[in-house]
Every structure is written in C-alpha cells, then in structure tokens.
C-alpha cells in the first residue's frame, strides 16, 4: 500500500511537471510575433526581440543552459565570471559561517533565557524589537562599520539566523516537563549534568526546529545580500545574468537556489530525526 502511494505520488508529480513545461512551451511559442519588416542593414544591428522573437526563453533553452552549468561548474574566467559551482560554494560558505556563529551564540543564550524567568523578561524587549527587522536593513550599517562586503554578508546572515534559534531554544528549554526536572532534582543531579542530560535532550527537537527555520531564512537572505554587494556568490550570479537581461540565466539560477535550499533543509531535517523522542 505504502509503495503504491509512493509510486502514485511520483507519477502525479511527473504529470504536473510535464503539464507545466508543456504550457510554458506553448505560451512562449505564442509570444513570438510575426517578423518585423526592416531594412537589412538596420536589422543586423537589432536583437532577436526587436525582430519579432520572444525575450522569454522556453523550457528547452533553460534546459540547455542548466546542462551547460552542470557540465562545467568550476570554470574561473576572472574575478567577475566564475562557474556556478564556485559561486554556490561561496554562498554556502557564507551561510554556514553566519549560521554557525549565530548558533554558537543563540543556543547558550536561549538556554539561559529559557531557564531563568528574570533573564527572559530582561531580554524580551530587545528580542521583540530586533526580531522583525529585515536583515537587509542591517546591510548599510554593516558595510559602514565592518568595511568589508564579504564579512558584511556573513554578519547579515548571522543577524537573521540568530532570532529563530534563540526563541526556539528558550521556548524548548522553558517547556521541558516539570516532572522530569523534579525527578532529576530528587536524585540530586548537579546543575550542569541536569542541563546536559535532561534539559538538552528534552529541548533538542525544538532547538533543531529553530535551526531549520534559521537556515531557511539564511539561504533566502544570502541571495539578496549578494545581489546588493556583488563580487561573488549565487546572488551576484543572478544579478550578473539580470544585468545582461538574460531571463534564461535567471531561471537556471532560481532552480539551483531552490535545489540547494532544499538540500540544506533536508540535512537539518535528518538531524532533527536523530534527536526525536516519543513520550
């Protein structure tokens, strides 16, 4: 039964994909207007769209472009033209650096906030004010103070991924069942041991959920940050394609961004499964 559900879902997915690609192809074909009549000398200086072609690429064009990127991902033709593999590596490195730094700070602080009602109330106003700030709003400030665009993007990732982890850790720690803590107290477990052996495992699934939310946001933000500051990374890659008004390039990068985002999420989801427990 399970197997047949899987197979049916897969077939349905494929059907949706084929329908979507077909509709896309037909739509693009219809966009193409009749060839415009112009002086041949003039026509030589004009682009395909001016001559009645469509600026919108069809699925086949995008497929070709994707294949080109996949077969040659690591070329390096100078500081402004590197392969998609190198660009993705830059972005992933930035996201992971910012994310791990945020985790290193958010989880301990979240622990303290979760365990102490006084700290929770003291931190609360700051968290509430800073949490809704769009991470990109930090960019000018970061550029001005840090004076390095690469580090600034890492800082923006740091600042956007810190809040979900902080809040989830605090929530997870605060909502560990009283009975378990009381039992540990009765057994005269020391405070560090209790934090490590009782509270952390109990709060781990919530903490992991916070990390999963964070990395999702971080991946969303890095593209925008790199589009702003340029240089390297997948965001710069999108911007460079846009600079050339190449819709094909933009669509291929969207697909790459989606796939990498999904992979990052899958990794954390499987980590979350490791710490799951049933009550």
């Amino acid at each position: 039964m399970l197997k047949s559900t899987n197979v049916r879902a897969f077939l349905l997915s494929m059907l949706m994909l084929v329908l979507f690609l077909g509709a896309w192809h037909i739509w693009v074909e219809q966009q193409k207007g009749p060839a415009v009549d112009m002086d041949p000398e003039y026509a030589k200086l004009m682009g395909i769209t001016a001559k009645g072609g469509s600026a919108m690429p069809g699925p086949l064009d995008v497929g070709r472009s994707l294949w080109g990127h996949i077969t040659d991902p690591f070329y390096d033709k100078g500081p402004n033209d590197k392969g998609i593999g190198i660009q993705l590596a830059y972005s992933i490195a930035r996201v992971l650096t910012g994310f791990l730094l945020a985790a290193a700070i958010a989880i301990p602080i979240g622990f303290v906030i979760g365990m102490s009602p006084v700290f929770r109330q003291a931190f609360d106003p700051f968290v509430q004010v800073l949490k809704p700030v769009s991470p990109l709003a930090w960019m000018p400030l970061a550029l001005y103070t840090i004076k390095d665009s690469g580090t600034s993007s890492v800082f923006v990732i740091f600042i956007c991924s810190i809040w979900p982890m902080l809040i989830n850790t605090a929530f997870g720690v605060a909502s560990v069942r009283r009975e378990w803590i009381n039992v540990a107290r009765t057994l005269e477990v020391s405070a560090p041991r209790m934090a490590w052996r009782v509270i952390l495992p109990a709060a781990a699934p919530t903490i992991l959920t916070g990390m999963r939310i964070s990395i999702g946001i971080a991946w969303l933000v890095i593209v925008a940050a790199e589009m702003l500051v340029g240089g390297t990374g997948i965001g710069y890659f999108v911007w460079n394609e846009w600079n050339n008004l190449s819709i094909t390039g933009v669509i291929s990068s969207i697909i790459f961004i989606g796939v990498i985002g999904m992979l990052l999420d899958l990794i954390l989801a499987s980590a979350a499964r490791l710490v799951e427990y049933a009550e």
Partner: protein, 484 residues
C-alpha cells in the same frame, strides 16, 4: 633659479643651489618642501563648511609623489645639459641659435634622456603594492578601466589589477570609502560630492582623470515616438543612474531649458543602469538619461528609441571618472603613479577610433560588461540603430579624454548648487582644484608623450548658453528654474 628651471630655456641660468639656503642642493630643498606639504593632504575633513573651506584653502596642495617626479626628471635633464655644455654661456648661445626643441632632440641622440629619466624615476622606490582592486560599474563609460585588464595595460605598468564589477554607484562609493577598492570608476560629480560631504561622510577624494566624454543618451519608450518636443513631457517619469551624476544634471538642464521644471513637472528617479531597460519594458518609467550600453540595449531589444545623444546637449561633456582617495595616493605614491599611467595609457588607446572594435570584443564577455558584442560595438563605433528605423553614424558618440578640466568641476558644482544638493556657500575654484588633479594629469600625460591642454579652465557652451568658470555664482543665478 637653480636646477629646477628649464635647462632648455636660454634665458635662465643653471647655477645650482637652493633658494632658501638651508639645503645642500635644490633637490634636497624641493624634497623637504614636499615632505612639509604631504601631511596637509591627508588631513581629515572639518565638520563645518567654513572650516572646510579653510582646510581647502591651499589650492596648490599637491601630493608628494607628483612633485618628486617632476623634480627628478628636471634634475636629470639639467645634469645632462650641464655635462654636455660645461659652461653656461655656451649653452645659452647654443639654445638661442637652434631653439629648445632641436636642442632636446640633438641631446637625446647622444644621451638617451628618456631612458635616463625612467631609470631615475624607477629608482625612487618600488611599488608599495602591486595587487590592486579597482571597482567598475558595467557600462561603456568604464571602457579604459575595464579594457586595461584584458588588453594588458595594467600589466605593462607592473600592476596586477583585479577589476571588480559593482552593482551600482552607491555600492561603489561605499566600497571605496571602506578601502575595499584601491581606486574605482566613479561619476565625475561623485569625488566632488564625497569631498564636500554631500550624500556621504566628507572624505578628501581625488579625480586624477576623466574616463569618457559624451556617450550618454536620452532614451524614450517606443510609445512616445510622437512626443519629440520636451514640452509634451509633463508628468513623465524619468530615471537617472545616480543623484550625483552628469546624467541627472544634464537631464535637469535639458528639460529646464525647455521650460519644464525637473522637480515639479516630471519625476526623476534613481535606478541602477542594468535595471533601466527592464523598467522601461514594464513602463515603470517613460524614459531615462543613462549610460550606454543601456540606451542601445533598449533599442536592441525593441523597447525604446534613442531620442538624443548627450553630445547634442553639451558636446564633449565629461561623464565618468577614475577616482581614488587622497589617503591611497599619499600612502602609495609609486603604485598610484603606475596606476595613473596605466589608465592614461588605456584612455589614449581607447580614444582612437580604429581600436574601438577590438575593445568592444574585449569588454563584452561575462567577466566585464556581459552584453551582446554588437550592442557594445554600436556604442563604441558610433554606427548604430536609433530605434526609429534609421542607422546613424556618429563617430564621437562616445570619446575618451583623460584631462580633468577644472572648469568642468566648477560647472558640476554650479549645478549641485542650482538644484539644492549643496546648500552652503562653496569656494567653487578651491574645491574643483583640490579634487580634479588637472595639473598632475597634465604632467603624467606629458611624461608619456601625450599633449595635454596648456590651461585647466575654458568656457563651455551648453545648449547655446555660455558658461564662464570665472563667474560660477552669476551663472547659477542666471537660470530661471532653480532651487536656490
């Protein structure tokens, strides 16, 4: 005068010695002078406008490297002339008889003067650093800065330069201010604006060379093909690439001359150049005055037409510039000189029409402009489709001339004043002379065998109206539409 006077001038004596008597030779005297001048250049900007004007008061405040180079080259010439003639009297007689240029040529035959000069100049110190980052915005104005990389002009001057593509001018300014870029492609008004602190923290900035003259255009959406009179533009939305840009000032000037108030009758928005074409397609803007290749790109994609080239508004107007902070020049005089020479070299190469096709092919790839080669070629060669069904031939559609006229700087400042970007009273001449390194550009151009103009001021004619750089305030007040 001592060994600093021109040895090829028959009216001057060559008896050496320093004028103040405190130094053993003229060289020591001049170098001591340079050392005394150097700290002034790096002094931080003062907060109030009066204090700022005072800080800029020493107009002849040149960085040390420039003096040192001129001094060294002149001393070599003098030493050679002296050794050839021995007695001063015979030198004077000889020069009077044959003329200075013949004498120079004759002596160069026996004595490779340029080689000697070069060796002495090289000996004055190695490059402080050779790996540099130079920022650029991907437009054809940046042609010399960009093509110097693939065509080897930086390498020729011993530099290893990475040219880094930048999304827009705000980012270029921020990355330059933060020191991430050693030098950058900027718009000619930007170094002035940064120096006076308009739109950023006031930081002493310099503009050693102009990149391009002309090369911009007003592009309108195809639906406006029947609205060729600016008086029909009321309610239009225009885009310019940056507030402190020639594009903004020229567009404002152009519409104001036709009786349209740029702040009330039309709307002017700032858009990064690459986004202009897409916004024109989406009809978010009715037109723009933007750098190429985005005017030509709108034609190429069948979205808009070229209404007017900016050379028809002000023939030979400056547009983009090569800019660096005073701090960079003071800390890296030798590196800066090499970079400066590479840029002048590349600009001179770009100004030759026969090189334009080759340049178009070199700067079109993804690493640089990332545009179809035919678009870039139409811009650089001036043979282009205008979007109205005609092929036009305008060889000077874009041209390259490194000389940063002080009078151009003053014109830009008058427009900043006219439109209210600068509120305080400013000393036009002092600021223009501090930021636009025209004298230095002339020296470097001369040392490379080019012929710079002899003056740094001239009158400009913009849409038939004359601008006299000696009367900036009167010029601002002469306009009917202004914000002051």
């Amino acid at each position: 005068m001592g060994s600093m006077s021109n040895p090829f001038d028959p009216s001057k004596s060559l008896s050496s010695g320093c004028p103040c008597g405190q130094h053993g030779s003229m060289l020591e005297h001049r170098l001591a002078e340079c050392a005394g001048e150097a700290p002034k250049a790096g002094s931080p900007a003062a907060p109030s406008s009066e204090a700022r004007a005072e800080a800029y008061a020493p107009v002849d405040d040149r960085p040390a490297w420039e003096n040192r180079e001129a001094v060294v080259s002149r001393i070599v010439e003098t030493a050679v002339v002296k050794s050839v003639f021995g007695a001063d009297a015979s030198r004077r007689a000889f020069l009077r008889a044959v003329g200075a240029s013949t004498a120079l040529a004759a002596i160069s035959q026996v004595f490779p003067l340029d080689d000697l000069k070069a060796r002495v100049l090289d000996a004055k110190g190695p490059l402080e650093k050779s790996a540099l980052k130079v920022g650029f915005v991907p437009i054809t104005c940046a042609t010399p800065i960009i093509m110097a990389a693939p065509m080897g002009f930086y390498k020729k001057h011993g530099l290893d330069v990475d040219v880094i593509k930048t999304a827009g001018w705000a980012v270029a300014r921020d990355k330059s201010l933060s020191g991430e870029y050693d030098a950058a492609h900027m718009l000619t008004p930007m170094p002035l604006a940064i120096t006076v602190g308009a739109g950023s923290v006031a930081t002493p900035w310099t503009m050693p060379a102009v990149e391009n003259i002309n090369g911009q255009a007003i592009t309108l959406h195809n639906k406006h093909k029947d609205k060729l009179d600016p008086k029909q533009w009321k309610g239009f939305k225009f885009a310019v690439p940056f507030e402190y840009s020639m594009h903004n000032f020229l567009l404002r000037y152009f519409v104001a001359e036709h009786g349209i108030d740029p702040d009330k009758d039309i709307q002017i928005r700032v858009l990064p150049p690459p986004e202009m074409v897409a916004n024109l397609r989406a009809e978010n803007v009715d037109g723009y005055l933007s750098p190429d290749p985005f005017n030509q790109r709108a034609v190429y994609d069948g979205i808009g037409f070229i209404y007017k080239l900016t050379k028809e508004i002000w023939p030979g107007h400056p547009c983009c510039a090569f800019a660096a902070s005073r701090k960079f020049i003071d800390e890296n005089p030798n590196t800066f000189l090499a970079l400066f020479k590479a840029i002048i070299d590349a600009t001179a190469f770009s100004s030759k029409p026969e090189n334009r096709k080759e340049i178009a092919a070199a700067i079109s790839p993804k690493n640089y402009l990332n545009q179809p080669t035919t678009v870039v070629e139409q811009v650089l060669t001036g043979r282009f489709a205008d979007g109205q069904g005609k092929v036009r031939n305008e060889p000077d559609r874009i041209d390259f001339d490194p000389f940063p006229w002080h009078s151009m700087g003053i014109w830009i400042l008058t427009q900043m004043k006219r439109w209210g970007y600068v509120k305080d009273d400013i000393n036009y001449q002092a600021i223009a002379e501090q930021v636009y390194l025209a004298t230095d550009a002339a020296d470097v151009m001369k040392s490379m065998g080019l012929t710079p103009p002899s003056a740094t001021y001239k009158t400009h004619t913009i849409m038939g109206k004359e601008f006299d750089p000696k009367k900036p305030e009167e010029y601002v007040n002469s306009f009917a539409i202004k914000r002051t």
